[in-house]
Structures are given as C-alpha cells and as structure tokens.
Subunit: 244 residues, 2 copies
DNA sequence: CGACAACTTGACGGGCGTCAACCGGAGTGG
DNA sequence: CCACTCCGGTTGACGCCCGTCAAGTTGTCG
C-alpha cells in the first residue's frame, strides 16, 4: 500500500469526483487538525447509541457500518475504504444509530468534529460537497435496500460485487478486473442478508459459470458483461462524474 | 383535513423537531416562492434518471420513493407525508436515482430548486437543518435495509407499523393508537419486500393475536407493547427530540 | 345490480436457512 | 520438520418461510 503524503488527500480526491473543490477549499481541508493512527481489525470506533467527538477518514483498509438485532443476527449496511469519510454525520447528529467497525487493520485520520463544523462554516463549498457525499451514501443505502429486498441470492451477490468494483475503481483500488475483498463469506452474507453457506453456494455457482474467480482477499471477474447482467447493475445511483 | 394557512408551515414544524430554527430563518423559509397544487394519486412527480427543477413539500396525503427492477418487481424505499420535504436532494444531485409518486391525492407546495439553493446560501442555519433532515432520512433507510434483510415477515410488518406510527405522531397525524394507512396490502408488501398474500397472512396473524385491527385506510393498535416487542422497535434511529 | 379492485384463504413448491461433517491453509509449539 | 489447533471454505441432507397460483369473498362505486 502506498504511503500517502497526506492522510486527508484520498478524501479530497473522493470529494472531487462529485463536487468542484477550489484550491482554497482543498487547502482548508488538508489543514484540518487530525491524528493519524492504525485501527486494529475488529475494533469498534463508532458505537451505536453514542455520540462521536471525531470523524474518521480512511486511508487504507476496510470498515463497515452495521446493526445488531436482539436475536443476534447482524446486517452490514455499507462498506468503507480508501477516501471514505465515515460518519461525517456525527457532526450534525447527537448519537449514532449504528456501529462502525474495522474489518481489516485500518490506516485512518481522525478529525475533531468541532474542526469539521468550523470548516463547513468558513467554507460553504466544502459543506455542500460533504452534504452531497452524504446524499450519495444515502443513494447507495437505497440500492442496498432494493438488493436485499428484491433480488435473489445470486443476483444479490453479483450486484454487491459490481458496486464494490465500481467504487474501488473510482479511488484506485483493485484493477480493471479485480476487486479487493478482504472479508469472509460470512461477512459477505451479512452485507447481502444471506447465510455464509448460501453465499458459498452462490459464489460456487458464479464460479462454475465462468463469471468470476475468488481467492483469499481478492475476487477476479472473468466475464463482466455476464456479471452485470446477472446483477441488473446500473451505475446511475453511484452518480458517476460527468467529466470522466 | 385542516387547510393550512401556509403550505410550508408543516415543513418548518418538521425541521423544528430536530433543529433550532430562528425566527429569521423561519420567515425566510415561509417566504420561499412556491406553487401549491394537488397531485393526483398515481402521478409520478420525480422520475428516476431525470433531474428536477423543483422540490416538493407535502401538506397532506401520502407519497413514496420507489425503484423498479427489470424483472418487474418494485421496492418502496420510504413513505412521505405531512411535513416531509421530498427530494431536497434534487438541489445537489444532477438526477434522481429513484422515482417518487403519489400514493394518494396530494396537497403539496413546489419550490424552485434555485430558490432553495439561495436560501441555503443566505441562511446557513437552514442549510444545516436540511442537511440534518437528509441524514435522518438516511438513518431511516438503513433501518429499512435491516428490516427487509434481517427480520421475518411478522416482525417486518410490525416494525413498519411502529415506525409509521411514531413518525405520524410527530407531525400530528393519526392519534395515540391509530395509524393512517391509506395504502393497499400489495403496497405494504412493496415496502417490506413481501407479497400481498403474505402481508395478508401476517396481518391476520397480528390481528388474531389481538395486537391490531386494520380497516380501510387506518390501522388501530390494541397492544402497543406487544407490537413493539414483536418488531424489536427502538426509536433511537428516528432521533426523537431531546426536549420532548 | 354489475364491475372491479382489494382482501382472504388454501394448496403446493422452491429458495434459502439450519445442521453437520469434512477439507485446507496459516499459525504455533515442540 | 512435524503434530496440533483454529478459522474459514465446501458440500450434502433436510425443513421452513414465503412465493405462486387459484378460487372465492367483500366492499365500493357507477
């Protein structure tokens, strides 16, 4: 993994995908006070029901939002990686409705909420970009609702992989036919509301159809058109930059 | 239905539930240029893939966001009613990732996107309140993902009803034991990712357990504690006002 | 009173969950 | 270098929740 010169640079890069960021705004973001540290795999760094005094910006590694139910089952709500600002919402809401935890070791920058609020106040352009980012996050959440609600197991996993590939391409992870997937089949199941066993069956099915190959930590797509068709994948909800 | 003196008053009321709105800001919101009109049941007023030049604020009636899949099935993503500002996101995103349609006849105010953008610019406090509103919407979306992903049919419908009741209470719809539910069982199914037949069975089950009664257009809850327990309902994700 | 939509109920089947056994690679300790 | 352990992946058997199909009932509106 490349050691980034600046821990907030990937985040700025992400914002620029959907918003215009002036040089002045960029400087202001990079000037945010922050501490950069490693979060160990399995660590919860935002806990459901509690407020947060810092926001987190991921440089490398994987994190997820999740909710646990009384019965013991869990639903993963989204995955986050390089460039993602996790829980900017902490700046505006009094507590978190969900948990955020590290799925792998994480290299991340933590910024005090107060500094974010001041940044937004002094640079409305940045506030708008962050707001837009939150709307994109919500759009992804809607698609996940559709995914678990209305697609069968096979299509569900295919769609999950398509989205992941697209989002990783945007921030320079994986390559044109590879997805970084450093999570277990059980965790894929918690993303797609399936059991680990059924995830395994569906992955086998996709594999034997020659659509993909899965190794530890990565997934190679061998037939993109097929996968997209199985998934019914359309990038519109990810708001691809018009000037691409 | 009460004829509101001002079409945007319910929206201001909704904002005040989670944000502090100064008298000056309130005046500015109410001064927004708008046209008030009735949208007929079944009308699509925001179409997937297209941009919108106006935002919609509901005074009375029910609307929903939805997505259609290639196979023909649909997922309803959220319901909207009195006080809800539908698709403020149109002000920040170039197109809609979903469709919004009227489930009943709607009394609503339409405000030009441009006017919203100017309002936000001149009154950052309002921008923040709207941003917070968007975050709350996203929180609800997460819970819907959990609902269709991890609860069985009975709990799913129970949770759907609990949320609806809570949100309606907040804006003065229904009463302490009544939910306004002017939608068909098929539409409830599209909200909960079930078929109309199964919705019917689960409602029957809840009815025969003495938890609720359902009539055309309304639903009476006869045993709230029971329903909440079946649903595993916790209001935290709806961010109840602290000063209640 | 006829038409139509929505609700209701029953029979049947399939997708996915559950349980359980086995395999395979990575790390650990002797 | 080889046992041992452990976690995750793999595969099969079986069962249930919910989808599907179909028929019948109710309610509303003309």
């Amino acid at each position: 993994m490349v050691a980034d010169a600046h821990a907030l640079a990937p985040f700025v890069g992400k914002l620029k995908l959907t918003s215009t960021i002036s040089a002045k705004s960029e400087t202001a973001i990079l000037a945010l006070p922050h501490t950069r540290r490693v979060v160990r795999q399995g660590n919860v760094f935002i806990a459901e029901g509690r407020g947060a005094s810092t926001c987190c910006f991921i440089v490398s590694g994987f994190a997820c939002r999740q909710k646990l139910l009384a019965h013991g089952s869990r639903q993963i709500l989204n995955l986050y990686f390089r460039g993602d600002g996790v829980d900017l919402q902490s700046a505006l809401l009094p507590w978190a409705d969900h948990t955020v935890l590290a799925l792998t070791d994480l290299d991340a920058a933590f910024v005090p909420v107060q500094a974010i609020r001041e940044l937004i106040k002094d640079h409305p352009e940045v506030g708008e970009a962050m707001w837009r980012e939150a709307l994109l996050d919500a759009s992804i959440q809607r698609e996940w609702t559709v995914n678990v609600g209305r697609r069968d197991g096979r299509a569900r996993i295919a769609h999950f992989l398509c989205e992941l590939h697209y989002r990783q391409q945007q921030v320079g992870l994986g390559d044109s036919r590879t997805i970084e997937l450093p999570i277990s089949q059980e965790q894929i199941g918690d993303c797609t509301a399936l059991t680990a066993v059924h995830v395994n069956r569906m992955l086998s099915s996709l594999r034997s159809d020659g659509v993909l190959q899965a190794r530890r930590g990565t997934c190679s797509i061998t037939d993109w058109d097929r996968l997209r068709m199985i998934a019914g994948f359309d990038t519109a909800y990810l708001y691809p930059p018009l000037a691409a």
